[in-house]
Each structure stands twice: as C-alpha cells, then as structure tokens.
Symmetry: C2
Subunit: 265 residues, 2 copies
C-alpha cells in the first residue's frame, strides 16, 4: 500500500471532498492488512516508463498507485479499478507479479515521517491515531503490473497527488517503502513473460516491422539484440504472419510488415 | 486455505492434542482472511507428482497443504514452515506463483458439507459457530510451489489427515474448492520458469546425462522433445559444463556427463 492510506490523513476539507467523490477507506469495507500496488509500464517512442504519482505533501514522496480490496470485490477486479482510476482507460491487460509480505512491512515509519514533515498542515487535531490504527498495521501487498501504450493514457491525479507522470524505468524518483523493489520485480516478470504476453499487451500498431518489434524488446531488456538472432527467436515463437513489404519508395530496401496471427489474438 | 481451517473443528480430544503440539489457529494470532496453499511437486523415476493429504473426515476430501500467516511472520517464512511440516526437510526452494482471491472465495460451502457428512463425530456441541466465524469468511490465498526430489522427502500427516501421498500430477484425486485449479496454475508457472530455476530446484544428481535432463523436461511438459532440438536449447542456456563420457563399457556409445557450472550454483 502507499497512496491509498494517505487519503485518511488529509486535511479536513480535502478529506470531505474525497469521501463524497471516491469513498474514503474505512476499516469495515476492506479486507484488513491486504493492499494492491500497481506498476504501470508505458511504452512510447521505443522508451519504457512507469506511471508514478508524487504525493501532495512536503517531503518529496513518490508512491506507486495503490488501493485496498472491498469485501465483495475480487482481487483482479480491485486492481482493474485502481488502474482505470489512474489511466482513464478500461480493459487494460494486467497481471499479478508478486506478493510483498515481509514481517516488518508497515507504513508506520513512513507515515510518522510524513506527519512530522507536514505538522503545520495536518496538525494533531486532524490526525486521529485511533481511527487510523488499521492503516499503520503491517500490510501484505499484492503487486500487479500492466504495460500500456502511453499515447492512449490520460494520467489521472487523485486528491492526494501533487502530480502524476511517466518516469523512465531506469531513472525513477525516490520511492517510498519498498516501491523501488516492486518496480524491479515487475520488470523482471515482464522480461520473463514477454514472449508469452506479447499479443495481450497490444502495444504495436496492427502492422509492424521486425525492427519495431525489436525496439520493443530492446527497451524492455535494456540491451541490444543482434538482428539475425532476434528475428530467428521471434519467428520461432510462431505468432507472426508476414505480409507484403512496406512501401518506402525503394522497393529493394523495404522491410516486410508483420501482424500477429489471428488465431492468437 | 484448506486443511489448516479444519483443525479448528476437530473433535475435542484431538483438538486439545493439536493445540498443545502445533498451536491451533486462533483469530488474534494471524493475519485475517489471508492464507497460504502449497503445491509440492515431486520428481522421481521421470515422473512428476504432487503431495496431497487426504482429510480424516467422511466424504473423501483432498486438500492442498495450507496454513495461515502469523502477525510477526513473513509470508515466505510461513510457506517454508508449512512445507517443512509436510515434507520433513528444510531449505526447500519454493516460490510464489499466484494469489487466488475471487470475491466469492470462501470455505463456508465446503465446511458446511463436511460438517453435514460428519455430524455424528463432530456434533453441534463441538462446532461453535461463533468461535470459527473468522475461518468461514472469504479468504485470499497465496499459492506457493516447490519441486523436490521425492527420495529425500518423508511425507508428514497432521492430526486432521487420514493419509498423505504423492499423486501423479495428471491423475489427482478430487480436490476441495479451487485446489485443482491451483495445481494447474502452479504447473504452468513451473513450465514457464523451468529454464531459469533449473539449478535452484536441485533435482538431478551432481553428474547427469543429457537424457536425464531431457526426461525431467518431458515429465514437466508432458510431451516429447526432439533430441537434437532439446540439446541445442539446453546448451544455449549456457548453464552446463560438459565432463568426460560416462563409462559404460562400450566407449563409442557412452553419453557425455554434465554438471551445472559452478558460478551458477
């Protein structure tokens, strides 16, 4: 968990607004001590980035988009709800990658530092320790990742964000708690599963060149692939259909166009 | 969750014994609505099996080894504790594969059927509904899988098991709740990650032939691999060291021996 908990310690006015609009977290509605954190990878212009909100508190805190699970809501459903809230698009392909559940995993240290830095605006009267006990307990968090086409996303701030932006996956800002580790773990899973999930991620235009596909792999693995090896590896996956050459004016240099086989889509 | 919940509805005498020896589950000790289920794959004689306890109740119920997470215990730690209890060996390589958390996922239907079938031994006076309310709520369960050498394992019954045995992965008995789906999901993860986890699983003798390695793959994927393709694929992983030929008397037919490269172990 990260930013979801913070809606509970907002200054009064914002908090009221938040409750009306978004159903502020309360103890009874959710499964206790369980949260979801989302690593939303974005791809555009051969670059791999992550969507990260900056919290609207003093101290420069970045936290992965997160949330809790309603008692009557499936975990995948909860993750889709969080992702839709943050990207504005439905039907995102997303998948669990790992559960983070070390024994000392708790928000308490982070929340105390945040409250200390923001004493003037949060004040004692606004932070009712008993009311938010449940938020400061140990949390087990289920990590989900998604990979989206950045051009299709309109990033959404929530009440507790100062901003929300795409950051290069290899140059992230300072993340709270274990969120930097979560991104690394999600990236590793993405690399492991890329061959199998290639079609589901739906990142390329309907027709694409081998070079465009190679650039996608290179941005995710952060290394160059020798061209011939790459082409062989991909064709061996047996998911591509080769079409006519792309028209570029110089026919002999034109690259072939590919699309994913229909039976695989 | 599966068998762990059942210790709470045992007949009195067995229950007392269980509490002394194994710390019977109670509401305060554990993270609520969160459990762990373990798919323990075993490999022996080129066969892939799963370790499954049969519950000591009328009705022929098989349930994956399972348990809860103590408030002061990491989730990996909890999974190792459960695995050690059931296999008698420490230092098992194990890994999360998926979280099961559909909204209607609850033990209540299964427990009610079990109580109905076992009324004569369980009786109303022994099943205090209020005390076990927490067990019948919706549970989110973290699935872990392990792959062990069957010859090194001494399967351990607990108080609530009639028996515990290895069953062929493709001929499992009738499993409770979504446990059959859990096994399928674990098997899929094992197949996806086998190349990467090959050394960690530690299933082969120190020196082995290409044929022995191929048999391991064939048992996990349940299909034949063409010999030349398999050998190329494995050598491309770059984790093997080729040693002298195995002495069989007929030198020209002797297979090479391999071992995993030391820097990878």
């Amino acid at each position: 968990m990260g930013d979801a908990a913070l809606s509970a310690i907002l200054p009064d006015q914002t908090h009221d607004h938040f409750m009306r609009d978004m159903h502020s977290p309360s103890e009874q509605d959710y499964i206790q001590q369980l949260s979801i954190d989302c690593v939303i990878f974005g791809y555009q212009d051969s670059q791999l980035s992550v969507l990260v909100p900056k919290l609207n508190f003093k101290g420069d805190f970045w936290a992965l988009p997160s949330g809790f699970i309603y008692q009557n809501e499936g975990i995948d459903e909860a993750a889709r709800r969080i992702l839709e809230t943050r990207t504005g698009i439905k039907d995102i392909y997303l998948e669990q990658f790992r559960v983070f559940g070390n024994a000392p995993r708790s928000n308490i240290t982070f929340l105390e530092r945040l409250i200390q830095l923001n004493e003037d605006t949060l004040g004692d009267q606004r932070f009712n320790r008993r009311e938010f006990d449940w938020i400061t307990r140990r949390f087990v968090s289920i990590g989900y990742y998604a990979l989206v086409d950045i051009s299709k996303v309109v990033p959404q701030k929530t009440e507790i964000d100062e901003s929300i932006d795409w950051y290069p996956v290899r140059a992230l800002p300072a993340m709270i708690m274990d969120h930097a580790e979560m991104v690394q773990s999600a990236l590793h899973t993405l690399q492991l599963n890329l061959d199998e999930k290639l079609i589901a991620f739906n990142l390329l235009p309907e027709l694409f060149t081998m070079r465009e596909l190679q650039e996608l792999y290179e941005s995710i693995f952060d290394r160059a692939f020798p061209r011939n090896n790459f082409q062989k590896k991909i064709l061996d996956l047996n998911v591509l259909e080769r079409l006519e050459k792309k028209f570029t004016g110089a026919a002999n240099k034109a690259p072939f166009l590919y699309r994913f086989r229909r039976e695989n889509v």
